[in-house]
Assembly symmetry: C2
Homo-oligomer: 394 residues x 2
């Protein structure tokens, strides 16, 4: 018999996907260049040429078995060493190969981390606004996701609400900085305060509380932003990284979990990830992609376009009188809608071929997300539509 659970899940509509499909359909009518599609977080800048070159070089230099053969379950050992060395050098934390587990991007890194540190009935807290895919990653593990209400002043952490929701069942806290959808990076002050509370609560409850840090936007940080490395603040941190955004390779499915060497039982966590992976289908990333990435470990795509786009949109949105916290990174901006019903607002925007995502699925009402990983020219052309929309409707 087919699983009713997964069959039911197929019926839940994805708001973002539906908007993206709408944008594509509308593009067939009026030309996609005329649809101001701010729906999807798909990197718009190309991969660094060095990455493609590394692939071709590897195919020439190495044997078939070296390139295409099995990598050990935690990933290619040389690749893991290169990742550890790079992190150690950049962030001053003495990572070794044994602390790195290669994954199918951040999604897989989070799914493994959650299963490592939380079981059936345990709670994992995250902070609104949050990435809605956390729901399946966590729900399917048996743990329960609880969402701390947003601090809508700054989109830093709402510590009062957080402390109120902390309890003995909390096994982990999951954060995402720089944040999808708000674009905000947690400051050093925020992370210091978060760590203080977690250390205090660990003591109080007599068990570890892990910090799962989802950081695919780590390399997309704008000038002036205070966007420190999370694991520097708290020992029991599992950093979940993806190269999807930094190298513009989301389809290649590559990332890692980096275990803070001072975490409780740090040396057990990668072997546990291996066991978890066995149960869910050995989703080690492609061996070729691992090795090509390792040759580009400290490179990124030219990410400057995202800051350019952000500045254009931030200026326009504030000029239009919208309330918006200036992003510190990512390629998202998260303004307050001029009416309480963000879904109605985004529906009206469609008439101006503006594809905006209402904030409801991110755990906050009354805001909307714009993913500005699109051509700057299109961002500029969208301003006229934005002005017209606001003038005619509000």
């Amino acid at each position: 018999m087919l699983s009713q659970h997964f069959k039911e899940m197929t019926k839940a509509p994805s708001v973002i996907r539906a908007l993206s499909v709408y944008a594509t359909e509308r593009g067939k009518e009026i030309g996609y260049e005329n649809v101001f599609d701010y729906s999807l977080g798909n990197p718009s800048v190309p991969v660094p040429e060095a990455f493609n070159q590394a692939i071709c070089d590897l195919l020439k230099e190495k044997t078939s078995a070296e390139i295409h053969g099995y990598s050990p379950n935690p990933g290619n050992p040389e690749v893991r060493q290169i990742v550890a060395d790079s992190l150690a050098k950049r962030f001053g934390i003495p990572y070794k190969q044994e602390h790195i587990f290669m994954t199918s991007a951040a999604a897989s890194a989070i799914a493994h981390s959650v299963r490592c540190v939380a079981g059936c009935g345990d709670e994992i807290l995250t902070f609104a606004p949050y990435f809605p895919e956390y729901n399946p990653y966590i729900n399917e593990s048996g743990a329960v996701l609880k969402v701390v209400p947003a601090n809508t002043e700054t989109f830093q952490i709402n510590f009062d609400a957080f402390e109120e929701m902390m309890n003995e069942k909390v096994a982990a806290v999951l954060i995402n900085t720089p944040n999808n959808p708000s674009g905000i990076a947690y400051s050093s002050e925020t992370l210091r305060h978060l760590a203080e509370i977690l250390y205090k609560k660990q003591e109080e409850y007599g068990h570890e509380i892990f910090l799962i840090s989802d950081e695919p936007y780590r390399e997309i940080v704008f000038s002036g932003a205070d966007a420190p490395y999370v694991s520097s603040f708290y020992d029991n941190t599992l950093s979940c990284y993806s190269f999807s955004k930094s190298l513009s390779i989301p389809g290649e499915r590559i990332g890692y979990v980096a275990v803070n060497p001072k975490a409780k039982d740090a040396e057990s966590i990668v072997p546990m990830c291996v066991q978890i992976s066995r149960g869910i289908g050995h989703n080690c990333p492609s061996s070729l992609i691992q090795q090509a990435m390792a040759r580009c470990i400290d490179l990124t795509s030219d990410l400057s376009v995202y800051e350019t786009n952000m500045n254009i949109l931030y200026k326009e949105l504030t000029d239009l009188g919208l309330s918006v916290v200036k992003p510190g990174g990512t390629f998202y901006i998260f303004p307050k809608a001029p009416e309480d019903d963000a879904i109605a607002f985004c529906e009206k925007a469609k008439k101006y071929d503006l594809i905006l995502v209402p904030s409801d699925s991110f755990g906050v009402k009354g805001y909307f997300r714009m993913a500005y990983c699109i051509d700057t020219n299109k961002v500029e052309r969208s301003l006229f539509a934005l002005r017209k929309f606001m003038k005619e409707c509000y």
Copy 2:
């Protein structure tokens, strides 16, 4: 708190891995060329040159977003269409794109299939000898794996034992043909009989029983073997394929689930796999690897060496008086050990630098597995060691 469940799992030793590590260590002492390492099922023949060429061509021909961008969750649509067309043409089953779900090789295909058709407390039956990784794939889904004892005469199915173990809780039957570790391919007669029983039991129990067919060795079939396509015999079949062995790319993690178009709710199964994948970390295979594979869909590596090696070993083992069923495919052979304790037998073999895997972890006692995906020259050199071992010990 770290998951005790996964922490415990790290302590269970893998016999095959331990033997492989031993072989590598011994290789450092006497030269790996002198270790007759029959432990691991790692393809020894190179990838077809056309696969590497396809990668380089794609990187030149397509844009960064076309190659490295997100593929939709079920896989790249063009790639799925090419897979469907190839299967339809070869096996006469009208697969369409909607029946193909791209996976991280067969492991992931099985993990998804199991979750689609079985839930907590359901039973899944498989037949000894069987691939031990079925345990984590199934146990972690909440279903229960039950192993039907082997038919050691032929290593086809032990139907008496199977019918005895069938009951209303059985949601699926998992088979692997050609088989790891026996090397045997299920005959048309076997598959017809299996289908008859399943159709009868579906009727009797009033619910579907799915057949999950694990077939990574489908393309490695020896002359004279009757190795038919499983899905042709039974409508409710999910075929789990991997290109690891046929293209010698196990590290690239690519395969698929092909849903028989006549299966119950066939059109629901791929969307369900997408939901399952969300929960376990979106393990879609690399976009580049998907597209390169599609350009080589009907190619294989030069697989003939495996039959050559099989014939050499089969002759020698029978000449030595060992009881062995001649393999119909794969790169495994599964002789009866000359003493009841296969673990003791394989331990003694180490003194002759013969690395053999005892059958116990495959669900049968008293046999051993040789993975002859190694150079023919080494196979030939190993015969002297085999003879010496048998002469001195038995």
